[in-house]
């Protein structure tokens, strides 16, 4: 995808990234629903791992693999799922992406849930979950490469397509694949080869099914873009770092008044671990990236000893917003929506970093910094 050229393109790109991550969270949640909430299935499955860090039985932690989910169905069979928003069609990139999936094509230790020790099942299948759009072409090309011996998987690589139809996410095994599930060793209830291959059926899971799973985890194993992490911090974490005097101030006065929060990456990670059980993600990296992005926006400043001071408040649109048609259309519906406000801040910060001339008609006004303007060398954008 081409780099955004204008301020509006920059904002649109960030919002698209935000929604793309949310979509991945949805898709992973659908598979979690299948394996943890469907009565006849959940009872036959040892463990569904939403934040897998898989290592080979002889490997070390540094060689860990992080697919989007892993299911240990039994001690003899597992499934590794990888959700992709797209798959490149250009020949070299196509093969490179296919090769990347080979990292899962080796014996791997799965979390076993109630059993404390990880289990390396006898075999596992690899699910590649991609949008309906290009799925058939991708399968044809994979089959072609396989037949020519240009790509070889020891385990089964199964391509699934997904589409949103009639208020449901539909998952189908793409037709024309020679590979099938190697799940004959597991009970019939969890044998996808029967339902999805032999009977040619599809999985259909609605947002109503996954809403509680989504509200519970909010993240998936993919690295979120900083804007997604910042929205999470802003709505669910930062308030808990205010002291009682600060909270009382907001109770009596307008919460648009800024309150400084002095925090380190580790303190934020600890707070997240304390409040939400999603510390199994890669939080140190994610939080560092989010805080550095906040510095770029001017909503935080980096101070010595690894500390950041966040200017926490209720974000509103008084900072202004670009007036280009696509953004104006979006803004008309939800004028005080955080993702959009933060996107404008981030793009404004990136412009400053690049030394571009400020354009008051397009960019939000830079708010006054209580601790001085952000030094350019301190800014770290997620480029």
């Amino acid at each position: 995808m081409a780099e955004p050229q204008t301020f509006s393109e920059c904002v649109d790109k960030l919002l698209d990234d935000f929604k793309l991550y949310d979509k991945t969270v949805d898709l992973v949640s659908c598979w979690e629903f299948l394996y943890t909430k469907v009565a006849s299935v959940r009872d036959k499955v040892l463990h569904f791992d939403r934040f897998p860090r898989l290592i080979s039985p002889e490997g070390n932690e540094r060689d860990r693999k992080t697919p989007d989910f892993a299911v240990l169905v039994s001690d003899r069979y597992g499934i590794i799922g990888d959700v992709k928003s797209g798959f490149p069609l250009e020949e070299v990139a196509f093969q490179r992406h296919l090769e990347r999936l080979k990292k899962y094509d080796q014996p791997l230790s799965f979390k076993s849930g109630k059993k404390s020790e990880p289990i390396s099942p006898t075999t596992h299948d690899i699910l590649l979950i991609i949008p309906f759009r290009d799925a058939q072409e991708i399968v044809v090309r994979i089959e072609d490469l396989r037949s020519k011996g240009k790509v070889k998987f020891e385990r089964n690589l199964l391509v699934f397509e997904w589409v949103y139809e009639s208020d449901e996410y539909i998952f189908r095994k793409v037709a024309g694949q020679t590979a099938d599930f190697s799940d004959s060793c597991v009970p019939e209830e969890v044998r996808l080869s029967k339902q999805l291959t032999s009977l040619g059926r599809s999985l259909k899971i609605s947002p109503d099914h996954i809403k509680l799973i989504k509200a519970t985890w909010q993240f998936c194993n993919d690295e979120p873009k900083p804007i997604y992490t910042i929205v999470f911090l802003w709505t669910k974490i930062l308030y808990h770092l205010l002291n009682e005097r600060q909270r009382e101030l907001w109770r009596r006065k307008n919460p648009q008044k800024e309150l400084p929060i002095d925090v380190t990456v580790q303190q934020l990670v600890d707070k997240i671990s304390e409040l939400y059980p999603i510390a199994w993600g890669h939080w140190t990296d994610w939080i560092t990236s989010a805080l550095d992005t906040l510095v770029t926006t001017g909503l935080a400043a980096r101070i010595p000893d690894g500390h950041y001071v966040i200017r926490y408040r209720n974000l509103t649109r008084e900072v202004g917003e670009p007036g280009s048609p696509p953004l104006a259309t979006r803004g008309a519906h939800h004028p005080a929506e955080y993702a959009k406000i933060l996107a404008t801040y981030i793009c404004k910060g990136l412009r400053h970093k690049k030394g571009e001339t400020e354009c008051p008609d397009e960019a939000p006004a830079q708010p006054d910094l209580p601790f001085g303007p952000t030094a350019p060398q301190e800014s770290a954008a997620d480029e």
Binding site: K19, K204, Y239, H240, T316, H334, A336, Y338
Partner: protein
Amino acid sequence: MNRARKFVLELRRRSALAQVLTLDKKMPQQLQLTGGEFVDHWRDTLELCAGVCTRNRRAKIFFTTFFSEKPPHALFGRLSRLVKLTKKTDYWFASLVRGAKRGRTKLKFGLFQSGDNAWTAFTLTKTIANEAVLLRLLAALSPDISEAYLTSNEIRSIFEEFEEREGATVSVNKAVAYSHRHEGQISFFKNEAYDAVFNKAENEGKFVDKVDFSLTGPHFLHGFLARNGVAKFMAGDIGLFQESILISVARISSSKHGVFRNSSRQPGSTEVSAIAVQFGETAFRGRDDNVAFISSLDQMARSGIAVLHENPYVHVSLIDFLDGSAFDIFATSRKAVTIVPQVGASPFSLNRLCNHIFENFREGAIVRPEERVCTIEEVLA
């Protein structure tokens, strides 16, 4: 634009209130209780207050019901310099010292327990100012308390029960209704049967906000009831008012508070507890309804939202800056929304959020949904 809309809405609401007050010129004015009537039991006190109302047609008893996990002495602890509490036999007598010259201007009121964690404050008054003072005082106790919000349907059900039980007729002297989505649309009703008022409001997509009513038949009662749990006794049978209005307000709002309590996610837990607002009819037909719903959330004062998903279903993350409560809000079915309170979310904030949805989007019933067990056939096409 958003702030301007809020401002206009507030102006119009104040204007509506002013009109009601203007209409109120014929209504009894209010009288401040001198304090002598606060006897040992709250029911006896109310009888004495009702006697004052009989003798002085300008007097009325003002009631407001709220929920608190703490008893009054603990609740008012942080306002101890302003509010002096005295324990009576079955209720609390409170004296508010206010104004620059302390001790010269006082508001005296009673507090009795009207249900599980439900408390009702009352005072005899003839001035709106005193009512406002009491409401402001209680508002200062948030987020430790929640107001007893009622929906139009719940107010209507109170009147229905009233008529059935007493064999009497409830008529509306005056009522005010507001539109849900089209802010600023207000309807006034005068001298109509209560069911006609509620039917008209419903047909116009409005919610009934406040009702001045009379009961005629074997018993006589003149009173007032509003969505925020405020009730007023003007004349008639105070015992009937207690049983039919005050107890009903506490009972109905208590059941909702019971749903709100303990629904917050515990720190470090993977368990979430959802509540559902069921509209009873299709509320989401397409993107326009999604946008209308999100826009209504966007207007909640002192809160911020992030829209994770707008269409084809809605997922919004909302933070209430009054106490830091955070919620994930989903519209994933056509007839309901689901609210998932996150860590530290308070019943006060959940109550506020639900009432905001009722007033700005659509009224509904609050329930705790049962966990659905799904079969494999349900997820296979």
